[in-house]
């Protein structure tokens, strides 16, 4: 479940709002979410931040409830320069995120498989480093596909 239109290498953003607006627009333009999705994600990010101190490569996983989602998908952006996100939970820690994986989850049964495919990605520093260092979005897609296959074999 990868849409190469939503895999972006080298986005440069002033702050997390800009990054989320960028990802939200891509999801919207490609028909995965409705027009209210981005604002809903921004609102949620302010209340429940999603920065994660992942090993090697810090990241953020902005998302919202399923009400604005038409079809489950994710948008992955490798930032040119780290973008500061607040850490998930009740800390005041800031995370200099190098990768953003913006989630659109429709709440259906299939989203479980989708989420399980992404789990290893989050906690596996080597995969994140390879994605960060990949030279273009094509290479990132190849890494993700490899990874998805790995997960399907495991289940």
């Amino acid at each position: 479940m990868i849409d190469k239109n939503l895999i972006v290498k080298g986005g440069s953003f002033q702050n997390y709002e800009e990054a989320i607006r960028f990802g939200g627009r891509l999801l919207y333009e490609n028909g995965y979410v409705d027009s209210g999705y981005t604002d809903s994600v921004l609102e949620r990010e302010a209340q429940f931040p999603t920065g994660l101190p992942t090993q090697g490569v810090p990241m953020a996983i902005p998302h919202t409830g399923s009400e604005h989602v038409l079809k489950s998908m994710f948008c992955l952006v490798v930032f040119s320069d780290p973008v500061m996100f607040r850490q998930m939970g009740e800390t005041s820690e800031m995370i200099p995120a190098e990768i953003m994986v913006m989630l659109a989850i429709d709440g259906g049964e299939k989203h479980l498989k989708f989420l399980s495919n992404l789990i290893g990605l989050f906690s596996d520093g080597t995969v994140l480093t390879r994605i960060k260092d990949a030279k273009d979005s094509e290479s990132i897609c190849r890494i993700l596909k490899e990874f998805e296959q790995f997960n399907l074999d495991e289940s």
Binding site: F48, L52, T64, M88, L118, F122
Partner: protein, 99 residues
Amino acid sequence: MQEKKVLICCANGVATSTFVAMKCKNKFKELGINAAVTTCTSLEVKSKAQRLKPDLIISNVGKTISVPEGIPVVYGVNLLSGKDADKTWEEILACLKTE
């Protein structure tokens, strides 16, 4: 062995709680722990915990959630990030030990 109950909450009850639930299910299976895993939102967690009476609550939104007295709360974010996840697993497994 009596079945243990684990309740996992996050902001929407759909994304990070599902991640952590899957990690828990795999871990419990691997260790032969008989535990049911349920997910909910941070708003539902109090009422759900009252009904379900879980042995443990894992929260992805921080530890200051409002829950019934006596139920331990573990902060689940390390399970998402992988950083210090071992410590979090220790905390979780300690809550599920049978007396």
